[in-house]
Structures are given as C-alpha cells and as structure tokens.
C-alpha cells in the first residue's frame, strides 16, 4: 500500500494538496464515488451536520473523490460543507486503499434504496462522473495512516456515522507510523 501521507491530490481550485499536510489528527476520509452521486452528497451533508461531534472528539473529516472539481465547489457553497473536499483524478488514493471500479456497485438493489432516501432528504443528483466507482471510507490516524477501511458494495454504502464516531474515539491508541505493529 502506498503511503497516503505522500500522495498529492487537488483542491477544487486546482491547488495541489499533499494528504500528509492536511491530516494532523484522526481523520474520517470520506470517499464518494463522485461528488455528484446523490447518496454520496447525502452522506457528506450528514457529516457536515454532525461536524461539531467530530471536532469534539479531536478529529476532522476530509472528502476525496475522482471528481468533479466544480461539484466539490458547489457542495461547499450550497451545503456549507465545513471540511475540505479534494479531487483525485488520477485515483491515487483509491488505488492506495484498493477501492476499485465495479459494475456490481450499480447492480446492487440496496443502492437504489439509498438513492430514494437521499432524494427524500432533499438532495439533488449531479452530473455523472464515474458510475462504476465503489464508495468508501477510511479512518486515518494523525500521520494519515489508515486504521480501518470500509469498501462500499452498493451505491451510497457508507457506514453509519454513529459507528464511525465510536471507532474514531478509539483511534488515540492506534499504532503510530513506523512503530512495530505488534508494539
């Protein structure tokens, strides 16, 4: 697995951002299929609404997706997303976390229920950028080392924020980068 900390992605305005520069505390890395994906927008919105709880446990959130930059900028403006939304057009982070593209993601009926509930909560679908990308979520320690990974199996398949917050609260004892895993 490549070191996430060394991977460079882009801010919505095209500015290069190294993951290691951004992550200085336990971090929820939310990895939408693309920023126009309706249930992905819904999940980002939920994370935004509960951002106070995330910060209260000394953590932060970062969104990262294949695209699109204009959709990320729109989400920040329209939904008031209080955390960075980054763009990874070369799929470096997806590859590092082994979050592939799969046809099964759109064929899984569980995903369409997620679409329905996202619509019911007032979200709008954006332009389709990458329909086959699996969604994901990783918890990183303060050195950007992945501690847990969730690989979605369907559209909008993200772990409930309650369980993410519970896991985050345990990250303070995660092994530090470079330390023996069995320490």
């Amino acid at each position: 697995m490549s070191s996430l900390a060394e991977i460079e992605v882009l801010a919505p305005d095209g500015t290069p951002v190294r993951i290691g520069e951004l992550v200085d505390r336990p971090t929820i890395l939310i990895i939408p299929r693309y920023y126009g994906c309706l249930p992905c927008r819904d999940y980002l919105r939920q994370a935004a609404q509960r951002y106070g709880e995330i910060e209260a446990i000394g953590a932060r959130a970062v969104g990262l997706s294949v695209g699109a930059d204009f959709q990320a900028a729109w989400l920040i403006e329209q939904y008031g997303i209080p955390f960075p939304l980054l763009v990874d057009p070369e799929r470096k982070v997806y590859d590092a976390l082994d979050l592939p593209r799969k046809l099964s993601v759109v064929l899984n009926p569980r995903g369409w229920a997620k679409y329905a509930s996202a619509i019911a909560r007032g979200n709008r679908q954006g332009k389709i950028i990458d329909p086959l990308q699996l969604p994901g979520l990783a918890l990183l320690d303060e050195t950007a080392r992945p501690i847990t990974v969730h690989r979605g199996r369907a559209l909008g398949d993200y772990p409930p924020l309650d369980s993410v917050l519970r896991e985050l609260s345990n990250l303070d004892d995660a092994p530090r980068s470079g330390a023996p895993a069995s320490a």
Binding site: D98, L137, T148, R151, S163, N170, D173, A174, P175
Partner: protein
Amino acid sequence: MSRIPALTESGFEREVIASEVPVIVDYWAPWCGPCRALEPVVEAIADEYGDRVKVAKVNIDAEPGLAARAGVLSIPHLVLYRDGVAVAKSGGARPKHAIVEALSLDEHAIAG
C-alpha cells in the same frame, strides 16, 4: 501465509458458536492494508494466549453472510465470542495492548 485458520460459513457453528474456548474472530479482506498491518498483532495474541483463547479469521469478501451477521462495517474488525455469543469487539489496526483491553481478554480467556 497466516498461521491463523480461516473460517467458512459451514465451519463457523462448530468452531465458534459451539466452542468451549472463547474465540477471537478477525474479520478481514485481502485488499485491506490495515488488516495486513494487524495480522502480526493477532498472531502475537494467539501465541500469548495459546489454548486459553482460540483465534480464527473470516474473509468478508468470501463470507459476506458471516460478516453481515457480525455487523462488520469496516475492517479490520475483531470480535470475541464466548459461549457462542459476541461479548466484545475491537475495530481498527490497534496495538496489542489496546486489543487485549478492548476484548477484555484477561477476563474472558479460560484459566491456563
């Protein structure tokens, strides 16, 4: 190659639910980097506790039904079963002492 035995749906009842010894099940997947980082920790726990605790692993991609029944959302995810019941959980690639504490292993392991 891991020294920890892999469980399948057919063996789970016998090896975990019916086990007289507490069982730690490591839910993992081959693509998961943190799972690979945790593997030596799980092996060290198996070595330390010997016959007092059984340790096994479940590949969540190969056995999605087992993962769903255990409520596994993110991996790595360890569950301690005692008398066939999940009594403690630990999520993430954490150090050995944190896992021992989260699973209350010294309390649940049978007497040596």
